[in-house]
């Protein structure tokens, strides 16, 4: 065969194709690009918050910077959804856009707006089963729980040191835990969102412990609440370990060991006298056998007796 002819023809074709493709593609992915930009702003803000929250960095200005990024993401998406929700839905992008906006509103403290978006999300996707945006839909379901955690945390900033206020906080936290647990039960065990939702449930526990401290519980109620919160933490730590087994890319990693130790430390540790087998040696004991027999009692519902 004539090799130079093949090469020159291929080169001519490739150049023409590139030029034509560049011209053609110019205006056809703008919506998706706007969403990508908003995703990037949102992730940047979340990274700042998470790093500050989990102690990887000391973020003095973090709160302001994160808020700015959340606001940019929310504003971009609000406008896009208002103008092009039909196109977005057709491209299976509407849920993604709405979830990012709702989460941004939540982090900005605009809980009503966040809930309104979540409540309007029921018809955001017409995609067939299997292609539905699983993460985004689960986040709409989890959002009320996430908001309740922040509301409980806000209440603890101004403690009344009464059992009544403790119970108000516990109602928020208990509801949050139920909502998150429900969201978890409706997604694939291998869905990476499991790791996020379990950590959010651990944030429930940490706020529970903080409530015991801030509302000044004493004596047996103090001991009982402390024990139940600890019980819930141990259950969640075991579930976190087992979720990592199912999630692709997380099995047996050093990251999971660090993560479990981190949460163990800030929630008061785990008894090594009689721990769930999956937590005895991390990550070695995180295996199918230990996880299929996982039977750890949780701390909810709160059954501690209030003083008469």
């Amino acid at each position: 065969m004539n090799q130079p002819t093949l090469r020159s023809t291929a080169r001519c074709f490739a150049i023409s194709l590139c030029v034509a493709a560049t011209a053609f593609l110019g205006g056809c992915v703008e919506n998706a690009k706007s969403i990508r930009d908003a995703q990037a702003e949102f992730s940047r803000a979340a990274q700042i918050e998470d790093r500050t929250l989990l102690g990887a960095e000391q973020g003095v200005q973090a709160s302001t910077e994160a808020a700015t990024n959340y606001r940019m993401a929310a504003t971009t998406l609000q406008k896009l959804i208002a103008e092009k929700s039909g196109d977005l839905k057709k491209d299976n992008l509407l849920c993604t856009a709405m979830s990012i906006e709702a989460l941004s509103r939540w982090r900005l403290g605009d809980y009503d707006a966040a809930m309104q978006i979540a409540n309007n999300s029921s018809n955001c996707s017409d995609a067939p089963a299997g292609s539905q945006p699983a993460r985004d839909l689960a986040l709409f379901q989890a959002l009320p729980g996430l908001i309740r955690i922040d509301q409980a945390n806000q209440k603890l900033a101004k403690p009344a040191q009464t059992i009544a206020q403790f119970d108000e906080v516990m109602t928020l936290l208990s509801d949050a835990n139920t909502i998150l647990q429900t969201a978890r039960s409706q997604i694939d065990p291998a869905q990476p969102l499991q790791l996020y939702l379990i950590q959010s449930q651990l944030a429930v526990v940490r706020n529970w412990q903080y409530a015991i401290l801030r509302e000044g519980l004493t004596g047996n109620l103090n001991g009982c609440e402390t024990g139940q919160a600890s019980q819930q933490a141990i259950r969640l730590l075991a579930e976190l370990a087992c979720a990592s087994l199912a999630v692709p890319g997380q099995q047996g990693t050093q990251d999971i060991k660090s993560l479990i130790l981190y949460w163990q430390f800030i929630t008061g540790g785990v008894s090594l006298a009689n721990p769930p087998p999956v937590l005895t040696s991390i990550p070695d004991q995180i295996n199918q056998e230990n996880c299929s027999n996982l039977n750890v009692k949780g701390g909810f519902p709160d059954t501690c007796q209030r003083p008469q």
Partner: protein, 612 residues
């Protein structure tokens, strides 16, 4: 039906149509990728630092009954201060501790948590006031960066685009006259491609890219080489066999290349060139004998064309020391393919039971020639491979004594020995230092190959030496020229002398006999000719005449031919020395000289000796 768009305007219009398809595929992929993109999620608010309640949880006594005791409860009884703090925190609330008590309580917690973890081999560092199990940015990103799905249900952008490119290729094909008709020769040839391609698992990563490139190579080859489609149904078998072999090997090599995209690209490009060359350069041979090369007519018989294509794909892309793929041009590849097909066609036993024989042979040649001692310009390697394959095809049983071990090819050994000698740097003080080029090496190697084919005993090692007879001659002549020659001696003259001496030695084994001093008669003869002719003390008039680059090789050749004719003996060699010195003196004195007279006078001098 419109013709294939070979002009640039036609191609540009076709590219625009294609771009619309690519654009649609890209748009869908970009949107799918946006939906699937991982995002980092923020955790809800919670107290991130430990407090006295955290410590109380750890040291909790498990009161009231049926309450879970803390994980560090066993530490409490060992320290009265800690016990007092636990007691107060339990009874009055952890918030009732003074600041100092709270700090002390939390320090107990941190220390005992670290001790507890150390007991299960989790070694944590103590940093006052900080979480000893602190997370890195990577830990955080790993656990909170969340994908849309565990496994993306949409094809990757690469897969989607590659599929579209194949679609474009089909459109390209549709514009080719006759290509889509099963009754035309073009259609039959392409049917071979499509039938084989239909068996390929396109779910295999990268399969579509290879097929696309091989498809384009096939279409172009069919268009530019009528011989490829001259075989009718045999064309179909040819395309099918070559595609099958080249695709399989390319896919294996790409898988082995891992994530090295540059390497993958090189493999695909070479596969494309081999596909094209294997179709165009073998068509006539294959169609003249389809039973042999295509395995048709004899069920179960191996298709030799497949074996050749597969073997070359393996051996030429997996060279252990040199990258043959980059050295090959369409022309040199064509030569190798044709030679390889000839070897396999005439001696199918070379393939062995596992079809690896040809791969072994080509790989061993490449490995041998790539040896650092050879110092061969790598551009010459493909041509040498072709030469060795071509000679092997004609003299298989002679050159491959053990057909089950084709790596032991006599020509490969000869090439290595000779090329090592001629590429070695001249010794210190050498008077003739010209280096041989790749073309010189190829010329000499081909000459040596012809001698070895004529008499394989050339490669028998000399007793007590490490070189073969051939190596000994080459080394001796080269040394004689380097030691005695001058800068005026050209490479052409040197090579001519070398070949003449080899030819002379081929006629007389006596050159390898030793004189009473243990020196080979070959070396004595070289001293008697080259040593005497290049003597610096010779008269300028004699040098002018006898050392001319046209004359010198003829003089040396005459002497060696007469020695082979009249006997390689010490006496004859001594006679040559005496005769040559006399000739030099006569020329210095102004006597006339011609090669014919020189030859007849020398023969007269040698005849009596020979007669005795």
């Amino acid at each position: 039906m419109p013709g294939l768009p070979t002009d640039e305007v036609g191609l540009i219009l076709f590219a625009i149509q294609s771009a619309i398809k690519v654009g649609a595929a890209f748009q869908k992929s970009y949107i799918d990728a946006t939906t699937a993109a991982p995002i980092m999620l923020p955790l809800p608010n919670f107290p991130t630092t430990i407090d006295s309640q955290t410590a109380l949880t750890f040291f909790s006594p498990g009161v009231p009954p049926n309450t879970l005791p803390g994980g560090g409860n066993s530490f409490v009884s060992k320290n009265p201060v800690l016990a007092a703090l636990v007691s107060k925190a339990f009874a009055s609330g952890a918030g009732s501790l003074t600041d100092d008590e709270a700090a002390s309580f939390q320090a107990f917690y941190t220390e005992d948590f670290i001790i507890q973890q150390a007991s299960v081999n989790n070694n944590l560092a103590y940093h006052n006031g900080q979480n000893p199990a602190s997370l890195t940015s990577d830990d955080i990103a790993s656990s909170l960066t969340i994908r849309q799905w565990p496994r993306n249900p949409n094809p990757s952008m690469l897969q989607a685009l590659a599929g579209t490119f194949i679609d474009i290729g089909v459109q390209y094909l549709a514009t080719m006259p006759g290509a889509v008709s099963p009754d035309t020769n073009e259609g039959k040839a392409l049917r071979g491609f499509l039938q084989t391609a239909s068996n390929i698992d396109f779910a295999t990563e990268g399969a579509d890219q290879i097929v696309q490139q091989l498809f384009l190579a096939t279409v172009q080859t069919i268009k530019n080489n009528p011989a490829v489609i001259a075989g009718g149904s045999n064309s179909q078998a040819l395309v099918s066999n070559v595609l099958s072999a080249v695709y399989d090997k390319a896919q294996q090599q790409i898988a082995a290349a891992g994530g090295d995209f540059s390497q993958q690209d090189n493999i695909r490009s070479f596969a494309q060139m081999l596909m094209s060359t294997a179709l165009s350069s073998t068509a006539k041979t294959v169609f003249d004998n389809p039973g042999k090369y295509l395995g048709v007519g004899q069920p179960g018989q191996a298709a030799l064309i497949s074996a050749v294509a597969g073997s070359l794909m393996d051996s030429l892309t997996n060279g252990p020391q040199i990258n043959l793929r980059d050295l090959l041009t369409p022309q040199t590849l064509q030569g190798i393919v044709q030679s390889a097909l000839k070897v396999v066609g005439q001696h199918p036993e070379i393939l062995g039971t596992d079809n690896k024989g040809l791969t072994t042979l080509v790989t061993s040649i490449a490995t041998t020639l790539a040896d650092p001692s050879v110092k061969l310009d790598q551009d010459a390697v493909p041509q040498l491979i072709q030469s060795i394959l071509a000679s092997t095809a004609e003299n298989f049983s002679l050159l491959v004594p053990d057909s089950t071990n084709p790596a032991q090819n006599l020509l490969t050994s000869a090439a290595k020995e000779i090329l090592t000698i001629i590429s070695a740097p001249p010794p210190a003080g050498a008077k003739w230092t010209l280096k041989f080029t790749s073309q010189d090496s190829l010329q000499l190697a081909n000459f040596v190959f012809s001698q070895v084919v004529g008499n394989p005993d050339w490669l028998v090692d000399l007793a007590g030496g490490s070189q073969s007879r051939m190596g000994t001659v080459v080394q001796a002549v080269l040394s004689a020229l380097q030691t005695n020659g001058t800068v005026n001696l050209t490479k052409a003259a040197g090579l001519s002398i070398l070949q003449d001496v080899i030819t002379a030695c081929a006629s007389r084994l006596d050159f390898f006999k030793a004189d009473p001093n243990g020196k080979l008669l070959l070396n004595d003869a070289l001293d008697a000719t080259i040593g005497v002719l290049f003597n610096p003390a010779n008269d300028p008039a004699a040098k002018w005449l006898l050392l001319a680059n046209d004359t010198l090789p003829q003089v040396v050749n005459t002497i060696f031919q007469l020695l082979t004719k009249h006997g390689v003996t010490q006496a004859n060699i001594a006679a040559v020395t005496t005769f040559l010195q006399g000739t030099l003196t006569q020329i210095a004195n102004g006597a006339a000289w011609s090669l014919d007279t020189f030859a007849s006078q020398l023969e007269a001098t040698l005849e009596p000796t020979h007669a005795s």
